[in-house]
């Protein structure tokens, strides 16, 4: 288990500010955030490549804050793999084992085991520069896994790969914690990649860890505007007032309809209703059931096989995601009257602030 407590690290103009998170054993944890958010710095602090200014790093309960990288038993795979160009694939993988002074036959057995599992046993005598992106990726993984590290830190491991290889390698990465009994910390900026691979996601923004949760939690229950926008929640609707009823939490959307949410917000200040566009259900005609409301289609933007249907509800604009086929079946066009509905479980009430209220103050202090 990796536990980081209140990590602060300043590097030039950038700083990590009070990052705390506990990553469980064999977990696939993804640190997600936009470029420049501090993902790599956080990873390098965990690896011991940057001494932290404040805070502690624990690995399996041992405080390793002052340990050099070589004593942490954490392997790091940078974005472009950084395979040693002066060594063959075999020597790259055996690198850490030679440092551990393993006997030659044991090294060979370990290299064979890893290369068989990662399907690169035919590459052992090749130079790294002659490998494809996917092969380099697998070699870097084998090198990192060779010394049986407590955790594997991967910095944007899929970003340098083409689309087909990315999906295949992603599937392989997903199996690593179970296959190799290791904890995996993966840094990326692609929300869908995180959603596909992670058991938990930590979202980072300008050096602050904004939300930690399962993909489902982060996807459906963002804790602030930033996370909602970053996870492509298109509908962030300001709530004028809300009250608990027998059926759920009844919310009056500013300039729009009343919506029923399943859960009350865990925050007393102003709130927004966050609704994913794929959860807005549209039926042609203005007659819906009691839980639906009337709307007018104001725009339809087709993107590949899907379409972003913009609905006008009073002064409000609501985005709904539909397939092209269902738009055709419903004969929707700009100006069509429709009945829209959203299930209470799909209406999440979050604080109406860019960052979670407890972090917003720190952010405002930082930006002056």
């Amino acid at each position: 288990m990796i536990e980081i407590r209140d990590i602060h690290k300043r590097l030039g103009d950038f700083s990590l500010r009070g990052v705390s998170v506990a990553i469980q054993e064999r977990e696939y944890f993804v640190i997600l955030g936009p470029t420049g958010a501090g993902k790599t710095v956080l990873l390098e602090c965990i690896a011991g490549l940057h001494p932290v200014d404040h805070g502690q790093v624990f690995i399996n309960g041992v405080d390793v804050t002052d340990f050099p990288p070589e004593r942490r038993r954490i392997s790091y795979v940078p974005q472009d793999y950084v395979l040693f160009p002066h060594l063959s694939v075999y020597e790259n993988i055996a690198f850490s084992l030679r440092l551990l002074r393993w006997p030659a036959d044991r090294i060979e057995a370990r290299v064979t085991e890893l290369t068989d599992l990662l399907r690169i046993s035919h590459l052992l005598h090749r130079a790294p520069r002659t490998l494809s992106g996917g092969e380099q990726q697998r070699t870097a993984l084998a090198r990192a896994l060779a010394p049986q590290p407590t955790a594997l830190l991967l910095d944007e491991p899929l970003s340098a790969l083409d689309e087909t290889t990315r999906i295949a390698v992603g599937e392989e990465l997903k199996t690593l914690p179970e296959r190799f009994g290791t904890t995996l910390v993966h840094v990326c900026h692609d929300f869908e990649e995180a959603l596909r691979l992670a058991t938990r996601i930590g979202i980072i923004y300008q050096g602050l860890l904004v939300q930690v949760g399962t993909p489902e939690e982060v996807f459906t229950r963002p804790n602030c505007r930033f996370v909602a926008e970053f996870t492509r929640v298109r509908n962030l609707l300001p709530v004028e007032q809300w009250e608990k009823t027998a059926h759920g939490v009844l919310c009056q959307i500013a300039g729009g309809p009343r919506l029923l949410a399943a859960e009350a917000p865990a925050w007393n200040g102003p709130v927004i209703a966050t609704i994913r566009p794929e959860n807005v259900v549209i039926k042609p005609g203005s007659q819906g059931d009691a839980s639906s409301f009337s709307a007018t289609v104001t725009d339809i933007e087709v993107i590949g096989g899907a379409a972003d249907v913009v609905l006008g509800v009073g002064e409000l604009r609501l985005h709904a995601l539909m397939t092209r086929q269902s738009i055709g079946q419903a004969a929707l066009q700009v100006g069509s009257q429709v009945a829209a509905s959203i299930a209470p479980a799909d209406v999440h009430l979050a604080p109406d602030s860019f960052l979670p209220p407890e972090l917003q103050a720190s952010e405002e202090q930082q930006t002056g």
Binding site: A47, L49, P68, E70, P78, F95, S96, L99, L100
Partner: protein, 267 residues
């Protein structure tokens, strides 16, 4: 056609190319002008002259020792300058660079003066005599050339992405192991190139040797000193022979340096 030929771009290119070729012709012309003044027979005979063989052998010995010491010192120094943040970095940088811009004569004077100070006198009394002696020639060559060696080594390490060492650290290397197993092999060609350039540059050191060790025939006359002595005493054939030897060494060293991908920089 006429307008295109004499457009501003074409004129600009013609001008800069003309400047380059004028420079190349000037340099090549001046250097090649040595050759008509000596025949092949004179050259080979001169090469067998005891004074010439002494100065070549003595030069190779002194420059070899100086380069070896330079390499041993400049590899760690260049690594520090490339990889670590050091206190008073700009002061350290200036001190390291100073011998490059100082006239060699001043290096010689500074060495002479140093050996008049108590530490210098102690060294001469208890360890070895340097001023006006053969070991002093090594020091007179080392002093003005070490900066170039440090810069070359720094450039060599700069060309290696420090993340290689970072990854090596996470794979279990101590700093020393990361240096020895990763940085050093990856910078190897640049380091050899730097050593070759340092060696070639050291062969041409004149001012500091004359000032610190004197110009004594068959004693402290490294090749440049021997050239000076021969040219000023009318032994033109011997002087030109040694000049050609230096020229050939310089050309071969430079070719080797470039082939190894060396980068000499003051950055």
């Amino acid at each position: 056609m006429f307008a295109r030929l004499f457009s501003q771009n074409v004129l600009f290119r013609m001008a800069v190319h003309a400047a380059l070729w004028a420079l190349v012709l000037l340099l090549a012309g001046v250097l090649l002008s040595i050759f008509p003044f000596i025949t092949w027979q004179e050259f080979t005979e001169s090469l067998r002259d005891p004074q010439v063989t002494y100065s070549i052998n003595f030069s190779l010995l002194c420059v070899g020792v100086s380069t070896a010491v330079s390499v041993l010192l400049s590899i760690p120094a260049g690594y520090v300058l490339s990889r670590y943040r050091i206190p008073l970095a700009s002061v350290v940088d200036t001190i390291v660079d100073l011998p490059i811009v100082l006239p060699q004569l001043i290096a010689g004077i500074a060495l002479l003066m140093f050996f008049q100070t108590p530490p210098g006198v102690w060294i001469e009394t208890n360890i070895m005599e340097f001023a006006y002696s053969r070991p002093g020639v090594v020091l007179a060559i080392f002093f003005p050339t070490i900066s170039l060696a440090v810069r070359s080594m720094k450039a060599g390490f700069d060309s290696v992405d420090p993340r290689y060492e970072q990854v090596a650290r996470t794979l279990g290397c101590t700093e020393w192991q990361a240096f020895r197993k990763v940085a050093l092999p990856l910078a190897r060609n640049s380091l050899i190139a730097g050593a070759v350039l340092n060696w070639a540059y050291a062969l041409g050191v004149f001012g500091s040797v004359v000032m610190f060790s004197g110009a004594t025939r068959m004693k402290t006359d490294v090749i440049p000193v021997a050239i000076f002595l021969n040219m000023t005493t009318g032994r033109i054939d011997l002087g030109l022979t040694l000049t050609i030897v230096l020229l050939v060494i310089a050309v071969v060293s430079l070719a080797l340096f470039k082939r190894l991908g060396g980068k000499a920089t003051l950055a």
